[in-house]
Symmetry: C2
Subunit: 371 residues, 2 copies
């Protein structure tokens, strides 16, 4: 690939009335001060990053922002889902207050989903709301957590339990940063991309199957398309249901089983995308047992998840009653109502639905899918 | 007064499009299950109260709610502004998660402003938003913190720094609970009522002056009118500026100086309303020095604040440079922009404005007003 100073491959508009915002996808964006020109000025900008990403990209971003903000602060959080908690969130508030930051201060989330979720929640809560910009540096964050305005931290008793719906001013997906992404994280990001096939667009699923080698090789053109299409589908869903009262739940395909795995093993053991990959396989099996898809569909999805480099068998969370432990963990899911677990299932290829299922059926799926 | 089972004296509608809600003012409301009939049902209701209020009214409220909710939980927080912090907020999340509460769970804030602010922020953040109802039990909460959707907790470096704009489903102002209110808290509530005169309605100020004895005697008819008119004025302001970008700032008359006093002495030393009462006197002096009101106006307001049983002289916060300490504390106020303090001043009787003022002028007011 020839060197490009800054090139926009695609721009998607998330349409949410007065909270609408653009997602820009391209190369060399992060360090290009021009890309921030539509963000309101203020005395101060605060870049929130983590110990892994900050050494790689914070200087570039800071330099670009210094052309618009008198003071550009940086706070570097410890890396990982295990730190998506209140004490770490406090580090952001501490910097803001110690520097006398007012309510016009703009926060920039430079990192993966954890940094994005925490920065977003900090922005939603600081002085009851300050503006923020997402600069996602993982594939997963680019296709998933940067769209839809979900922000949160974890509680010891559940993932993403404390948070807010809060929209960024802009999302900047720089394809260049994917070059430094560990391959395990690349696979985790692919899980969320694959997800959009079965729930909404089987043509896109076929495209992924045909182009998986290019995606695994991080070819910018393939990446740009995969990110764009994923964001478009998510944007379509979110614009119809911003606060997750109905349709939006389909975006959680694979997440009910996935969250149980993540929380059962302890956050950080499996990556979120790994849980989702394996969770989609389990949810496909459940859909099959509910008579909604055939065996071939489950096999096709399982094969693709495996080709992405993702686990297709769930971990054993309890040696005494493994299925019982999964059920227990899934009952605290935010989609649960009055203790009944609501699963996102595939209701025929390309269409998702939310259903409950008999415990015995869920148990048989867990028994079948766990190593 | 004859015994009334339940009687609504007034109902005010806060008009915020899809987030509109009613404030009901009357006697015997809290324990009347009929008053909760328009609140959505759910498996669980959680009453949040504190160690002072729960023994007095939690049983009544719980009993009324049990007719609509299978499970009514109660969490009793430690009382006071000093506990308006994250560890105390966590107590609410802990109860919700330990009981597997879903996102339809309704929270009921039973207490003063601190309980209301914390319950509101917990409701805004739990699973990114669950419904909540305000049942304010102090005069201050009834006229002030129950209207406008401001929720927050304190940060060691500033009051109300972490929070959300989040509207309740309904606010229930039961006049009967004022009977058990300590007289110091009654005075604190009167401060916020008096506030609406100078900023918006001089006729109301005259009415307060004429009826202050009835208010201090907690006569229901006078109380109902004072609460209703205060809520109406606040509602009118809030409906025009929900997220505090302009006009709404006038509601903070007396609060800039007041917050400095509260935070300088340590939260809980002075009541919020005491800080506001004294802060209004200081802000009146500042308005006078800015040439916006005459000496007579300042004297009239000072006299009324004093008759309410409120302090009219500020505490000394630093023996070396008292005015400097006030200025330092006021600079972290949320209305500040780029380090410049924005004061709510009276721009002629019945009209407020937001202005900055030279440090020397502010210092002279502080020197004049502090004991």
């Amino acid at each position: 690939m020839q060197e490009i100073l800054s090139s926009v491959a695609a721009e998607i508009r998330i349409d949410l009335a007065e909270r609408s915002y653009p997602i820009v996808i391209g190369s060399g964006l992060l360090g290009d001060s021009g890309i921030y020109q539509d963000i309101p000025t203020a005395a101060t900008a605060l870049v929130v990053s983590n110990t892994t990403v900050a050494p790689l990209y914070a200087a570039q971003l800071t330099q670009a922002l210094q052309q618009r903000y008198d003071k550009v602060l940086l706070v570097t959080l410890p890396d990982g889902e295990a730190h998506k908690d209140w004490p770490t969130l406090q580090l952001i508030f501490d910097v803001l207050l110690e520097n006398g930051c007012d309510r016009k201060t703009v926060l920039f989330a430079l990192g993966g989903g954890v940094v994005g979720d925490m920065t977003g929640f900090a922005a939603a809560s600081y002085m009851r709301g300050v503006p923020f910009v997402q600069v996602p540096t993982t594939l997963l964050a680019q296709v998933d957590s940067s769209v839809g305005g979900k922000t949160a931290i974890n509680h010891p008793l559940g993932k993403n339990m404390i948070g807010a719906f809060y929209q960024p001013l802009k999302v900047i997906c720089d394809l260049d940063v994917l070059a430094t992404l560990p391959s395990r994280e690349l696979s985790a990001g692919l899980a969320e991309i694959v997800k959009y096939g079965p729930i909404a667009d089987m043509e896109f699923l076929s495209w992924i199957e045909s182009n998986l080698e290019s995606l695994l090789a991080r070819e910018p053109r393939a990446m740009a398309h995969a990110i764009q299409r994923s964001c478009e589908i998510k944007a379509w869903v979110v614009s119809q249901d911003e606060r997750e009262s109905g349709l939006r739940a389909i975006l959680n395909f694979g997440h009910t089983f996935g969250h149980a795995i993540e929380s059962g093993l302890g956050y950080g053991e499996w990556l979120h995308g790994e849980g989702v990959g394996c969770g989609m396989v389990m949810a496909a099996h459940l859909s099959e047992r509910l008579g909604l898809v055939d065996k071939l569909f489950t096999e096709r999805l399982t094969h693709l998840v495996q080709r992405c480099g993702l686990p297709v068998r769930g971990p054993v969370l309890s040696s005494s009653d493994n299925a019982g432990r999964y059920l227990e963990l899934m009952r605290v899911d935010k989609k649960s109502e009055a203790g009944e677990i609501r699963f996102v299932v595939i209701d025929g290829p390309g269409k998702a639905a939310v259903r409950s299922a008999p415990d015995a059926m869920v148990r048989s799926v867990i028994d079948l899918c766990c190593a």
